[in-house]
Symmetry: C2
Subunit: 768 residues, 2 copies
């Protein structure tokens, strides 16, 4: 076209060039659209018949311009585009005409403007953007402009997160940043396990292992710091954390809480220094969640005053036992205590497994569990006992003893209550694990958010590429999870404090709280790390960027220390008693009656204006948010109680009734935990003095609250608690909050203050 005689004789034909180029380079015209353009051309009086015919040949689908022709058109158009401020194809066309016509656009051509504009609209071009394609560097969208802002003091926020544990957290970070703690490749399991053991020794040397033990046994009597150590170590290798927890938490604490002074004297110091590596041998192949059903026996032999530990069959072997495959020299073994032929239920006995040289002792057979999805630095094993004899003093006898005359004795008469009391002493694990899982989530979020802030991909036509964290879907994927991480941080702090200051009376509540938060937090960790992996694309799949290990190492957190689904059932049953002080298994029906009765009066009338209120002020009001959460909690709980009662009243076996209601009961627990997490987050916001920190925490709290409501909107709509206009307004506000939080996302993950040596991911630490 450009070299055609027609154009040479009438440069005004150039007014069509931008339109023709766009049509050929991008769109495929339908016959009716071609007819529209033909109509335009034929209607232009200033064109000769010959010129009209020429222009029409340029639109013939069977003879398109060549690739080179298109490129030369484009170059020509760019000249015009660069010299005009106009944005439409017509503006550029006029400039082209003027450039080739001594600066003049003939009046006749100029009068064609409305018709040309009309064609652009008919073809569906966005007129005011048409020029971007030819004017490089001029386009500036809101999406491109979004960048990281700093509105708060990162160090101040870190101090709020660390709280009273600041000093020990700092110390642990210093230790694990030492080059001795450089990560190892998990491929060779043996090397990895030995390295993890060596790390544990270094930590024990720092006094971290014995931290929670009494001072007389080398400890500091400081359980708060022990939890902070676990949490901080979890920024590093998770195998290390679990090995550490098995040794000093499970093995040590079982001796400490289930044993008496003689055991403390004999073992605790060596456990705390890692002189005496040991195991916590509870789970069996056929009995995991149902601990009560374990089949290993501990039979008292009065003639020798010894206890005989035996594994009755291969599926009663202890399985998944950490420290068992390689390093454990002793174990707290959970077994049914048999005295005088009678089964007194689950008790705990210290049983030697290996001598100091690591040789397995007679009667003990240990098999390696082999490679796992993660945590391959921990040596899990299966243990079989063939009539292994230990002295009576090895019975951990805080709750179960045998008298000199060979009689069973206990301070707790009921088997049931003794069992739950024993297990209750081990609740600490259900605090340590979610805190570890949360740390892993924070690492994942730090990596994914920093990467998303740097990584650019796609962008507006003819403009720079955009950081992927500026995309709304990317924000929707990561920002609510960032809010969750902050929310759970404060809840787990609350749980820890409740546990540290616990009284006997509060134990049932604290156990339910721990079980619920353990489940909620570890599921959240799995979801968070999965999302972080995907959000980092191929880079997230490379092991060097750490999300692989973070995800796979923490994956079992939803299973161990109590399977999450089973725990959520327990939490629900515990919640059913919130109206009563205490309860046992058998009088649950009474509680159901009571709850169902209460329900008749406890649900308040809904205000017809509130259910439609979409004011931002209202939606961001903590009072509204908390009311929504509490309403849901109470309503689901009472409806579960009524449903169970209805089934049982109708003659259904209570076991079936609970089974039919399982899904409902899980919701009871979720609603409870979600309410608690929001409540604690709101308290934290209110108690924060630093204004910058308070503002960003309020924003995160809003995002947590509203994204939970959005997630549960089906329920709220079903109940009539909200109408569609309101749930839509909430969704919109969640998107808006994601957009706002994204601007502070990098400072927010910086406030986690995870050591660079722990993050280690080259995509973040090395910049790309």
């Amino acid at each position: 076209m450009l070299n055609s005689p027609q154009l040479k004789s009438n440069p005004s034909l150039l007014v069509f060039l931008p339109l023709f180029y766009t049509v050929w380079s991008d769109a495929v015209l339908t016959p009716s659209e071609i007819a529209t353009i033909e109509g335009l051309i034929n209607s232009q009086q200033w064109l000769s018949k010959q010129e009209q015919d020429f222009l029409l040949t340029q639109l013939n689908p069977s003879s398109p311009p060549s690739a080179n022709e298109l490129i030369s058109w484009r170059e020509e158009i760019k000249k015009g585009a660069d010299q005009t401020e106009g944005k439409t194809l017509v503006d550029i066309g006029f400039k082209l005409v003027s450039l080739h016509n001594k600066g003049i656009v003939p009046e006749s051509v100029f009068q064609a403007k409305p018709a040309l504009i009309n064609i652009e609209a008919t073809l569906g071009f966005i007129s005011h953007e048409a020029a971007f394609n030819f004017q490089s560097g001029t386009r500036d969208t809101v999406t491109q402009q979004q960048i990281t802002q700093h509105t708060f003091d990162v160090d101040a926020l870190t101090k709020i997160l660390d709280g009273k544990n600041e000093a020990i957290i700092h110390k642990v970070k210093t230790v694990i940043a030492d080059p001795e703690f450089n990560y190892v490749d998990p491929g060779d399991i043996n090397t990895y396990r030995e390295k993890v053991l060596q790390w544990c020794h270094l930590l024990a040397d720092q006094g971290f292992g014995a931290m929670a033990y009494p001072k007389e046994y080398g400890g500091q009597d400081d359980m708060a710091s022990y939890f902070a150590i676990m949490e901080t170590l979890s920024y590093h290798d998770l195998s290390l954390v679990i090995k550490f927890g098995v040794q000093f938490g499970l093995w040590g604490m079982s001796v400490y809480f289930l044993g008496t002074e003689k055991h403390h004297k004999k073992y605790l110091k060596d456990i705390g220094s890692l002189e005496l590596p040991g195991c916590f041998a509870m789970t069996e192949t056929h009995h995991g969640s149902n601990v009560k059903g374990i089949e290993t026996t501990a039979t008292y032999d009065p003639s020798t005053k010894t206890i005989v530990i035996n594994t009755p069959h291969v599926y009663a072997r202890k399985e998944y036992i950490g420290n068992a495959a390689c390093h454990g020299q002793m174990a707290t073994v959970f077994a049914k205590l048999i005295v005088d032929g009678k089964d007194y239920g689950v008790s705990a006995v210290v049983v030697p497994l290996r001598d100091k040289n690591g040789k397995t002792l007679p009667g003990i057979t240990i098999e390696d569990c082999g490679r796992k999805m993660g945590l391959n630095g921990v040596d899990n094993g299966k243990i079989e006992f063939r009539n292994v004899v230990v002295p009576l003093e090895n019975l951990l006898d805080r709750y179960t003893g045998i008298t000199d005359d060979g009689k069973f004795t206990s301070t707790i008469s009921s088997d049931n209550r003794r069992f739950f009391t024993m297990l209750g002493t081990l609740v600490g694990g259900r605090i340590g694990i979610p805190r570890a899982g949360l740390s892993a989530s924070k690492s994942g979020l730090t990596i994914a958010i920093k990467y998303g802030d740097q990584r650019k991909q796609f962008g507006p036509e003819a403009a720079a590429e955009v950081p992927i964290l500026n995309y709304r879907t990317h924000q929707r994927r990561l920002m609510p999870l960032l809010a969750n991480a902050y929310a759970l941080h404060f809840s787990l702090q609350y749980l820890t404090e409740r546990f540290l200051k616990r009284s006997e009376k509060e134990m049932q509540e604290i156990e339910a709280l721990a079980a619920g938060l353990k489940s909620f937090t570890t599921w959240n960790a799995t979801a968070t790390l999965q999302e972080c992996r995907e959000c980092c694309g191929g880079k997230g799949y490379l092991s060097e960027n750490r999300i692989d290990d973070l995800k796979n190492d923490t994956d079992v957190f939803t299973t161990f220390e109590g399977d999450n689904t089973v725990l959520m059932q327990l939490v629900a049953k515990s919640r059913l008693t919130e109206f009563k002080q205490e309860f046992g298994h058998m009088n649950l029906f009474g509680i159901l009656n009571y709850v169902a009765d209460q329900a008749k009066t406890s649900i308040t009338e809904l205000n017809p204006i509130t259910v439609r209120n979409t004011d931002e002020e209202h939606l961001l009001d903590p009072e509204f948010q908390l009311h929504a959460f509490k309403y849901r909690e109470r309503d689901i709980l009472t409806s579960a109680a009524k449903r169970l009662k209805r089934h049982i009243d109708s003659g259904m076996d209570s076991f079936d009734a609970f089974n039919v209601s399982q899904h409902h009961l899980v919701q009871v627990s979720f609603a409870y935990i979600e309410r608690l997490v929001l409540e604690k987050f709101i308290e934290q916001v209110n108690n924060t003095k630093n204004e910058g920190c308070k503002a960003i925490l309020k924003k995160l709290c809003d995002l947590f609250a509203l994204s939970q409501i959005d997630k549960n909107k089906g329920w709220y709509l079903e109940q009539g608690y909200m109408e569609g206009v309101k749930t839509k307004a909430i969704r919109k506000l969640v998107n808006q909050l994601c957009w706002e939080v994204r601007q502070e996302a990098v400072p927010l993950v910086n406030a986690f203050a995870i050591p660079e040596s722990c993050l280690a991911a080259p995509i973040v630490v090395n910049g790309k």
Copy 2:
């Protein structure tokens, strides 16, 4: 109590024993409850004052019975319980009295029955279950009874699934069941990679690699079988599948589809036989999803008629390239083609990387990507080119050529269209990958469901433990995923057929379908395998049980062959054109106008009776189900179009408008894919002749349809398409369908007919 003189003199006191035992062994009484029991005792005229006092001492919280005493009470009670059919504690009490009183219950005691029953109720005991605790083996709940049923012919269902590919599927299964294909430990990457290469050679020897190539180059011209091979291999090691796919799919098909006869003659035979291992070098560190932005250059040198391949900077290296780190001898390299100083956009050039001995050629630098989350049997690498010179004939010139006089030439003038046409030829990968992901999901489901059917944990008080698959939560976790697997199977078959019979005109639709199904299926695979892992508890975490590898190997499926989130945006944009035949980028606005206009008339009025209809017959009617899916699809699509138009009309940059609507657009794609999947599943049910198979497929189809509606209930309620009564009824029906499908779950996974040697998981294959 048992040996007390009071009891000896008045055996009727035994009527209280079951009550007292239950109270002590289980419940904790509140003061008011103790007062209630005291009231009962004091009101009994047949008790002497002394006896009353004695009984009251037995309730003193400060002096509970000892553990041994409780056990002896229990033994005593069991004697009574075993001799009565009665179920309440009172029934057992009367029996005890009678046993100790020469078969007689004194009339005075008998008259206390209503008061005693009343106490049981007051304390909240479930009277008719009270005796279960003492009568072992008598309790029989519905939950315990549920077992696997066989209502259909498993082989017939397998035939339906395999369809026309039965023979090749059988052949592949036979080959991979050979001991040569025993799994290897992924710990040592080098050993693993060599083993995978060796497996690929064995498969190539079977003619599997060349299957889709023309007969003249050693193939069978059979693309359908090629897909079936990929799918079946995916029951085995996923590294093998990807290595296989890289060699024969990506490398081979790029030569086949982007090259011309000279390339086919030169390379295809050796590619199909694995004589010539090669790579598909498209992705760069800085450009993954945005392929158009790649920076590698292929510059034509007219003086030597050669092409110079160059990597301009380190972030423009080819990354994640399969076969690159070790085995690839050549690569299809995607680069910007520069001719005479002009950039003609992305083209593909065959570039040698290594000589026959595996030595890297001059100018080529390859770095190993190292350990990954999974697929460690594939040798991914980064490739850098330093002015590597190849002859012009290496340009794959089906779409882009250079003439003898050094001019660029193409059958497609527009850069844009040429780019998308080239990429479109590679759509096969977006069919192979979801089919592979679905196979992995089927393996995971087979393992988790068979394990759940065998694994027992917990049970009613004093009764046998229950298979965990009988628990409602477990069913809710796995059964909808089983339904998804079946649903997606038929959709992917449909997609494959559409692809095999494709015409040029249908390509845009098929590409959108492939992109959408790829995303949906691979996300579903990630979710399925995560759930399977958790449902198998600790056993699921052990690598030997395979879910580890299945999950980690397929995790990147959501990223490669197009990041799922990016693909879903593309699908949505494509869906916006469903009203028009064809469109380009620039005239999208016209389409938005059109869709928004159409919307005004297309949404039908909702029937006020239907929105509340909870009849099972209605909910299971495919017409209702499909209407709900279609309504959602259409409504979300038109509202997205209206929203985009509103933003652009208001002057928002279209890039920002699309960004603001991203989340909405993803929903457009989900709604489209979900509708399509349901539609194809319903068709399959209708076309199934075998009655047994038809019935179970109908049940799975219902479960798929209703669990999707349940998942989206927030949307349906928001739109007023359903009221709360209906969504509640649907939830209930989903639970019921889960319960019913569970009974056939084992036969249903058996119908996948996955070779035992592939499943390999000891928890399933060896029974426990």
